[in-house]
């Protein structure tokens, strides 16, 4: 890693424990590289700005200057162009990453009432409500009857997700459903129960269980154990 074990001028002599702490800290910070990033707003802004005529004209003026440069430099510039602009412009159709931070926020907003949700008695009613909000709303699975329920449509990185707040547990649980083609599973630990793979994540006292079933991506989140969340997930049927 980046830790320095040998003593250098100006660098303190580190104890073995200090080296372990530093290496562990560097490792944990390095894991932020795989953190999901919401690029939707940035994509829109850069797309709009690059499309402006002024920028295009500048590039054309620069093009003639490029002719005087070695081919390798031109190739490097083209790579930069593709990396900086191309990736930003053409990635909006790809699946979003199931951002843990956004799902946590979504759950907290629903539980606190900051996001309006419609109370419903049945899943059929919930699906009707969601369909009225969005014609291509992902359909919700059937859940056990002993839950009070409220539903709403939200977006995660421009991808539509159907949300259902369940209040039958000791703590509220939010079920989020998206089309599997719209949502990438984040790189988190998984367990297998009854032949199904459940992806687990914990944020503070919140536990999260994600699953891909047929063409749907499901996520359950709440302040209850992941085992209980998995049990709820096993009771869901499309």
């Amino acid at each position: 890693m980046n830790s320095e074990n040998s003593q250098q001028p100006g660098v303190p002599d580190l104890s073995q424990q200090q080296v372990r702490l530093d290496e562990a800290t560097a490792d944990r910070l390095g894991k932020l590289r795989s953190m999901p990033i919401d690029l939707s707003g940035l994509q829109r802004a850069v797309r709009a700005q690059i499309a402006e005529a002024g920028v295009v004209q500048t590039r054309w003026r620069s093009f003639w200057a490029w002719q005087q440069r070695p081919m390798r430099a031109i190739a490097a510039s083209i790579i930069i162009f593709l990396a900086v602009a191309g990736a930003m412009l053409y990635s909006s159709g790809r699946p979003a990453i199931a951002s843990v931070a956004q799902i946590v926020q979504l759950h907290e907003d629903l539980v606190s009432g900051r996001v309006a949700a419609t109370s419903v008695q049945t899943i059929e009613e919930a699906n009707r409500v969601l369909a009225s909000e969005s014609s291509d709303a992902p359909s919700l699975p059937n859940v056990p009857d002993d839950h009070q329920m409220a539903c709403c449509m939200r977006t995660i990185q421009n991808k539509k997700v159907a949300c259902l707040l369940l209040k039958g547990e000791s703590e509220p649980v939010t079920l989020t459903v998206a089309n599997a083609a719209d949502m990438h599973m984040p790189a988190v630990p998984s367990v297998t129960h009854g032949g199904a793979i459940y992806y687990l994540q914990a944020v503070g006292s919140l536990n999260m269980v994600m699953e891909q079933r047929q063409d749907k991506w499901l996520c359950l989140i709440g302040r209850i154990s992941s085992d209980r969340l998995i049990a709820i997930a096993q009771g869901l049927h499309f």
Binding site: Q8, R20, L29, M35, A45, A76, I79
Partner: protein
């Protein structure tokens, strides 16, 4: 890399989007100044850093390095020797990305940059020193001090 660094620096999605957007547009407009053999990530990081400094200055704040960022005689925080850190890897993995980023906000800007470039983005210390315009020894010092401050902030 630009979007991630901007988000960790600012801890504000809208501000990060603005910063990343300005950086990418500047990079796009100055492609002809990109030198052959230059590492692209270092080049983009330099533009991002200059853009960040410009925005801070424009906002009326002085872009300064707090004295503590360059203190050489570092006394280690007592918390580092506590039982809580007996398994530092497990301890740190227990913190969410959000908690890590929030803790980064408590660090002086220049320490945050050092950790971002070296630990988060994986640049070598010499590249980080070039981007930050300081000697490599200063980067080493900021990284060491920054990691210790970060651990303290996580347990605060």
């Amino acid at each position: 890399m630009v979007a991630r660094t901007a988000l960790i620096l600012t801890h504000n999605q809208a501000e990060a989007d603005d910063l990343a957007q300005e950086t990418l547009i500047k990079a796009f407009k100055s492609l002809d100044r990109f030198r052959e053999g230059t590492d692209m990530r270092s080049w983009l990081a330099t533009i991002l850093r200059n853009t960040r400094i410009d925005r801070i200055r424009a906002a009326g704040a002085r872009f300064t390095v707090p004295l503590e960022a360059d203190v050489q005689d570092i006394s280690e925080p007592a918390v580092d020797n506590s039982a809580a850190w007996s398994n530092p890897q497990a301890m740190l993995d227990g913190f969410s990305d959000e908690q890590m980023i929030r803790a980064m906000q408590s660090l002086p800007e220049e320490m945050r940059w050092a950790l971002l470039l070296v630990d988060v983005e994986g640049l070598d210390q010499a590249d980080a020193a070039r981007i930050m315009g300081v000697p490599v020894g200063t980067v080493k010092s900021r990284i060491h001090r920054g990691r210790a401050m970060l651990r303290n902030a996580l347990l605060a």
